[in-house]
């Protein structure tokens, strides 16, 4: 039985465990119908031209993980940003782990999607926001919607800011063969509120793990959202991350994506600008080796005038890795005075590495400034020689250059401890000790 059939037949079993009377369930049944109709995307579709899901569909994933997989904090401490205090929402095989987590209802809600979807007190909010910005016809998103039950739920009321950043961690133990996880997050940041979120998916097993995540972010007027995605998973873990952002006037939303690991990673990042004078920023550093594959798909839809968007993606590709960047900017007819920038720089350091990039603009308004730049190149031989002639070994010199290449993405990380952590990850990935922290 292939994965699609398995998922569709599992839906009935899934229905036994959720409240089918709840209005959310109508959304789910609608979504599974859509998925049944569309199935997994194939390479024939323009958006999936460079990424194939065929090999993943051959794996026999378990859809419903067991409930009782516990892990000790000391075993996973290294995956947390443990240098600082944070709110933590931790899931083990898709199941909430209360003893590793630290949630709150003190002024802000940092808790679980499962409570938001079932408890009457959240009903009003769920009605207004759930599945409102997420695509209703993209097949993987609808697949997630159909099985949406658990994930992080964050609600920041007007003029509030949580005392500390929020960490969302998904561990996969895979104690029972291969598993597929489908977390669903809902993040609502009300007027003039602010939040910082760090998200990580981590597999603790050598079994295959497939995560198909959907995150909906709603940023109301003047809200500020900082979202950091750390993707440094094991060689058997694949991630399809679908993030949808709905922004209102004067809000600022930044999403940083650091992709260093995983077998196949696909990031679908979609911004919808429903208001004026706002800013959307997407930045990413990708450093790959082995046979890894990362596909960054971004969409910024400028719907109203006077907005900005900034995209900056850097990629370093070694061994037989492949990278894809597909950035799309749409500027609607009335979205005059839009400033939209897109940059994608890539370095290939191996003969077998491949990069496919497609920075795409669709512009319907005339008074706009839109530009995109895209380069593929190598490390500067002169700079390498300069450093070597001053006693820096070649390996370190190369690492320094690559580090510098990625640095202007790192500069905008606003949590210092996180920046240090990412620096270490980069040094680790490049196989050197840089001997300094920026």
């Amino acid at each position: 039985m292939d994965l699609k059939d398995k998922l569709i037949s599992s839906f009935m079993a899934f229905e036994n465990n959720v409240d089918v009377e709840h209005p959310v369930h109508d959304v789910r049944t609608e979504a599974i119908k859509n998925f049944e109709h569309k199935g997994f995307p194939s390479k024939k579709e323009e958006a999936w031209k460079y990424t194939s899901l065929n090999s993943l569909q051959k794996i026999d994933f378990s859809i419903f993980p067991k409930q009782d997989n516990a892990i000790e904090y000391k075993d996973v401490k290294k995956y947390f940003i443990h240098e600082i205090d944070t709110y933590k929402i931790v899931f083990i095989d898709g199941v909430y782990s209360s003893h590793l987590s630290e949630t709150t209802h003190d002024g802000v809600d940092i808790c679980l999607m499962s409570s938001a979807l079932t408890k009457p007190m959240y009903k009003q909010i769920v009605d207004v926001y759930f599945n409102k910005v997420a695509s209703k016809d993209e097949s993987l998103t609808t697949l997630n919607t159909a099985f949406s039950r658990e994930g992080a739920y964050i609600y920041i009321p007007k003029n509030k800011m949580p005392k500390k950043p929020v960490e969302i961690l998904h561990f996969a133990t895979g104690n029972e063969a291969s598993i597929m996880l489908q977390p669903r997050n809902l993040i609502i940041v009300e007027e003039n509120a602010e939040v910082q979120i760090i998200e990580r998916h981590q597999s603790l097993t050598s079994n295959d793990v497939l995560t198909n995540a959907v995150t909906e972010i709603f940023a109301a007027e003047s809200a500020i959202v900082d979202y950091y995605k750390i993707q440094n998973d094991t060689a058997n873990a694949s991630l399809i991350d679908n993030t949808y952002v709905d922004q209102k006037s004067k809000s600022h939303v930044k999403v940083h994506t650091f992709s260093f690991g995983g077998k196949l990673t696909r990031n679908n990042l979609n911004f919808f600008q429903n208001g004026e004078y706002m800013d959307s920023t997407m930045k990413g550093v990708t450093i790959l080796g082995e046979k890894q594959h990362v596909d960054h798909h971004t969409l910024v839809h400028h719907i109203e005038p006077n907005c900005e968007s900034h995209q900056d993606y850097k990629g370093i590709y070694g061994d037989s890795s492949t990278g894809v960047f597909n950035g799309k900017i749409i500027v609607d007819k009335i979205a005059q005075k839009t400033n939209a920038f897109q940059k994608n720089n890539n370095i290939l350091i191996s003969d077998k590495a491949t990069i496919n990039t497609k920075p795409q603009l669709e512009i319907f308004a005339d008074d706009v400034k839109c530009s995109h730049g895209c380069t593929i190149g190598q490390l500067d031989e002169d700079a390498l020689f300069y450093m070597q002639s001053r006693g820096i070994p070649k390996k370190e010199a190369r690492a320094l250059l690559m580090y510098a290449f990625a640095n202007n993405v790192l500069e905008s990380v606003r949590i210092p401890e996180l920046k240090t952590r990412i620096n270490k990850l980069i040094a680790n990935k490049l196989g050197v000790n840089l001997g300094f922290d920026l």
């Binding site: 323009e46 007819k333 005059q336 890539n346 290939l348 350091i349 191996s350 003969d351 077998k352 590495a353 491949t354 990069i355 496919n356 990039t357 497609k358 920075p359 795409q360 603009l361 669709e362 512009i363 319907f364 308004a365 005339d366 008074d367 706009v368 400034k369 839109c370 530009s371 995109h372 730049g373 895209c374 380069t375 593929i376 190149g377 190598q378």
Partner: protein, 481 residues
Amino acid sequence: MAYTEEELKKELETKEYEYGFYTDLKSETFPKGLNEDIVRAISKKKDEPEWMTEWRLDAYRIWEQMEEPEWANVHYQKPDFQAISYYSAPKPPDPNKSLDDVDPELLEMYRKLGISVDEQKKLQNVAVDIVVDSVSVATTFQKTLGEKGIIFMPISEAIQKHPDLVKKYMGTVIPKKDNFYAALNSAVFTDGSFCYIPKGVRCPMELSTYFRINEGGTGQFERTLVIADESSYVSYLEGCTAPSRDENQLHAAVVELIAMDDAEIKYSTVQNWYPGNKEGKGGVYNFVTKRGLCENRSKISWTQVETGSAVTWKYPSCILKGNNSIGEFYSIAVTNNYQQADTGTKMIHLGKNTRSTIISKGISAGKSQNSYRGLVQIGSRAENARNFSQCDSLLMGNECGAHTFPYIEAKNKSAQVEHEATTSKIGEDQIFYCNQRGIDTEKAIALIVNGFSKEVLNKLPMEFAVEAQKLLEISLEGSVG
């Protein structure tokens, strides 16, 4: 004062498309529709050898299995391939070789277009192979070219006289099954140009062909094959104008270029087919496949000025197969009213040290949509490949759209690829500056557009550059507001 306001108004109304007149040539036209018999009939009409007929039929069978492509960013009513007449030749049937024999009506038509087939061309050093509705009727300068060993003739003649060359090269760069329209063209092409430059010869003059569509409801399917043998050079011009027609006309051409070792081909196009009227009615569908193959140290340079056609779908490409070969693409695409253009290039780097440059300028006005779609592909063996791409779009008015779809695929670590794109509008300060100095807004825009397109216009041969500049002005007339 003989010139009244009414007369001026009248003149402006008719000015929209200066070349929109219809000359009544006594055409011999095939019945509408396409099937194997029609393909055979075309082949028979052309007196083609057996292998050619088979080649066409093979293409037809491939075409039958194919579906019309949908991926381009254009929307139009699909042509009904059974409602098109696939052959139309002007009478008299016997080919004219001297200017005196040419149909005077035809000459009149060219006079209106400003194309002189007469001796003036000699002074301009241009040899012209004129194609009216698919059949070449007058060829000049055969002798001068003949002395150098250059073959420049209609492709139907080449099939008779140089079957070995045609057989060897036709369909090698663009196979029959390449795409829907290439297959269609391979099955039903009626004429086109064939050009062969022998080893070491530098073609002394610009070769040029004018195409136009005349008979209503006829499709134009011409086929061009240019072969530049080792160390040769040729500059080839192609210009197109078509009279006003209400129903959409289909144009599906195939152009194949082959540049052998150390050869250079420069291919320039000015395309000014009927773009449809202000309401977007009528106009030519231009679905063209153009591709060049570069051997070692050779160079192919495409320059195009696209101002006409209701729908354009065109990607002149270079396959940089040989080491140290060079591909270039310079393009200006102007769309106005309801025109739609999806154009760009493909640079396929296969050889070592290959280089390519892409400069694309898109200007959209009115309610038009202008897309750049390009592919830069660096193969895994293409060491030190280098590409520079620049796509600039200029938007005039807020009802048009500019789109960019650049695909970049690199499989070699020594590749250096740069891509840049910008979109902007004409600055109000620039127009104000011109107004202040007594230049009216329309002229000012023409000036600015000319400046914007200078990089590409500079690449055109002299005579063409002047014509192209004029075309830009005509196309953008009335787009200020």
